[in-house]
């Protein structure tokens, strides 16, 4: 849908002083937000599309813009998170960031951080996982480690990415649990858009000095991450589960407090968009929600009763909140940038479970894999098919069927050498 050019000039003379909001790259905004949280140790290994974030942070440490912080260059992502674990165990506020293969390479340490209940905050610049190698955005990386015991939050915009980092440190340290902030690679990390960063004083009031639960101290030696046998392992795991359920209660409280402090409705479990009276509700995570909201406005203009749920907290999974947000809909459509081969959409599976006690059908739309653009027109056409009750259980958005069929034919024609 083409909108005519209708720009009006700015009112009054152009203000050439630095405004409160700034037009900066997402990575720069995230780096500044992390800096405002005063991390004491940052350790990272560069990987596209996370690179700009840690480059900015290393520059901030070097120039002294970020004081009392050590930036440690490491040789791999496994080392990056392992150093963060060591730093956090020694009582430092620790931060790292990665993407895609980088997250997989640190997988063992990801479980160690949550198992040891260390309040590390990590930015994940969401990117596809190979093979085939692909540097573009989807949510495969987050999905691969969704059950590693971390809190997983997804940002819709770069403003929300900033706000989620501020909330992530609070949540992590209050509960002593690691938190991952997921930001769509390129689409957010490399986008220049308007953001507002709070003042250092405001962030200092929001985020008190880090007080670790347990500290490695040579004067009073303890062992962390020790061997735990069958007599106690279940209890350790149960306690981790309980803590995640506690996070589900704390996340909306922190979001409300953040709103009262900074005047922005960011974070929380989920947000609804025009769900009042909506027969169809679309649920998605991350930056695609912007395009979905535009599509919903367009369809609403045509009388289509449709709304959206923007899911921010993906782990722990908020079954009750999702069920409540969808309870008046006659159908739910889950749009997600991930696919579990042989199973389908992992987010759709979670939403289906949330609606297990209802008769509301859940339709799965797999979109944007490996950076495939998700045009508003394609979404609108899917939503219209849903309205007309013509949507299959699973749809692969804009799939090139000719290429798929060609590959299938080729595979079927293969015969072993005799």
């Amino acid at each position: 849908m083409k909108t005519p050019i209708q720009l009006t000039p700015p009112k009054g003379p152009v203000e050439l002083t630095l405004p409160k909001a700034r037009q900066i790259e997402g990575s720069r905004a995230i780096a500044e937000a992390v800096g405002l949280c005063r991390p004491q140790v940052i350790c990272a290994y560069p990987i596209t599309p996370q690179t700009h974030i840690v480059e900015e942070l290393s520059a901030m440490v070097k120039t002294g813009e970020l004081m009392d912080c050590e930036f440690i260059n490491v040789e791999s992502e496994f080392a990056a998170l392992s150093v963060a674990i060591g730093a956090s165990a020694a009582g430092a506020r620790a931060y790292t960031a990665t993407s895609s293969q980088g997250l997989l390479y640190m997988a063992e340490a990801v479980y160690n951080a949550s198992g040891m209940q260390l309040p590390i905050v990590m930015t994940l610049g969401n990117r596809a996982i190979g093979a085939p190698i692909n540097i573009w955005n989807d949510h495969s990386d987050a999905m691969a480690l969704r059950d590693a015991g971390w809190v997983l939050l997804f940002a819709e915009t770069n403003q929300e990415a900033i706000d989620l980092h501020l909330q992530a440190f609070r949540l992590a340290e209050e509960l002593s649990t690691p938190v991952m902030v997921c930001v769509d690679g390129f689409i957010l990390t490399h986008a220049y858009e308007e953001v507002e960063l709070p003042t250092p004083e405001a962030v200092d009031r929001w985020l008190p000095k880090f007080q670790p639960r347990q500290v490695l101290d040579p004067a009073e030696p303890i062992t962390m991450g020790a061997l735990v046998g069958p007599e106690s392992f279940s209890e350790v795991r149960y306690l981790a589960h309980r803590k995640q359920l506690r996070a589900l209660e704390r996340i909306p409280e922190l979001s409300a407090e953040f709103n009262a402090t900074f005047g922005r409705n960011s974070g929380g479990i989920l947000r609804t968009y025009k769900t009042e009276g909506a027969e169809t509700i679309v649920l998605a995570m991350g930056s695609i929600n912007g395009t979905i909201e535009d599509a919903i406005d367009e369809l609403r203009r045509n009388g289509h009763a449709i709304g959206a749920v923007i899911l921010t907290t993906f782990r722990p999974f908020p079954y009750a909140s999702v069920a409540a947000a969808l309870k008046n809909a006659s159908q739910a459509i889950v749009v997600e940038k991930s696919l579990t081969a042989g199973m389908g959409g992992p987010l759709a599976a979670d939403v289906t479970l949330a609606l297990a006690n209802t008769s509301t059908p859940v339709y799965s739309v797999i979109a944007g894999l490996g950076g495939r653009p998700i045009p508003q027109a394609s979404l609108e056409s899917i939503f219209e098919r849903a309205r007309d009750r013509e949507l299959p259980e699973t749809t692969f958005l804009d799939l090139h069927w000719d290429a798929v069929n060609q590959a299938i034919t080729k595979e079927l024609s293969w015969t072993p050498h005799t």
Binding site: I5, L7, E193
Partner: protein, 201 residues
């Protein structure tokens, strides 16, 4: 919403041009969103970047398929790709070249768009003279400002100052001014209808 697609090659500052355009519009009190084409960019490879400018906050994340303006920083791309695909009927095209649009083989797009909406400027030569390097991006923005009225030269200068160190910023502003003047000069020799003033009032 006014959408701009910038085409060029790695090393020509295509992504920076989109960033600066967004920063300029933001300075004007408008909302803007700039993003690259997300390729694995390298020197010399074709690159595209996008910029949306709007009176209202921008939510969409789709690449720009139907631009209102196309900036071509490298004329060798013209016949390699469909650079003008989806261009609006009232759209603008600015190509970096010292040749005329006709001689670049742009007759088809000249016929489709209103008079004065397809132009060329020798941005590489301007950049060589003012900056001492053949990076045409900022001169192209200066020309685009004059051609469309979508941004002012003053706001562009502010954005350039924000982005670059002082000495480099000043040279780039000179390049933008020279390109702006060149396009204004070209417009002055033409009937008033070609000025694109509908955007400025």
């Amino acid at each position: 919403m006014f959408q701009v697609r910038i085409h060029g090659r790695g090393g020509q500052g295509v992504v920076t041009a989109a960033e600066l355009l967004s920063m300029t519009a933001f300075t004007e009190g408008l909302h803007a969103q700039a993003f690259p084409s997300f390729g694995s960019e390298r020197m010399g490879a074709p690159v595209a970047a996008f910029c949306r400018i709007s009176n209202t906050p921008i939510r969409t994340r789709e690449p720009i398929a139907d631009p209102d303006g196309v900036i071509v920083q490298d004329p060798t791309l013209i016949h390699l790709f469909d650079l003008f695909g989806g261009l609006s009927k009232e759209g603008f095209v600015l190509v970096n070249s010292s040749r005329t649009p006709e001689s670049l083989g742009l007759s088809a797009i000249l016929e489709k768009l209103p008079t004065g909406h397809v132009r060329t400027i020798p941005a590489t030569e301007i950049a060589r003279e003012k900056i001492g390097r053949p990076i045409p991006n900022i001169a192209m923005l200066g020309g685009f400002a004059a051609m469309t009225g979508i941004i002012t030269l003053k706001a562009l200068a502010w954005a350039i100052h924000t982005k670059f160190p002082k000495a480099l910023a000043e040279k780039n502003i000179e390049a933008a001014q020279a390109a702006f003047a060149a396009v204004q000069h070209a417009i002055a020799g033409e009937p008033i209808a070609a000025r694109g003033e509908e955007l400025m009032v």
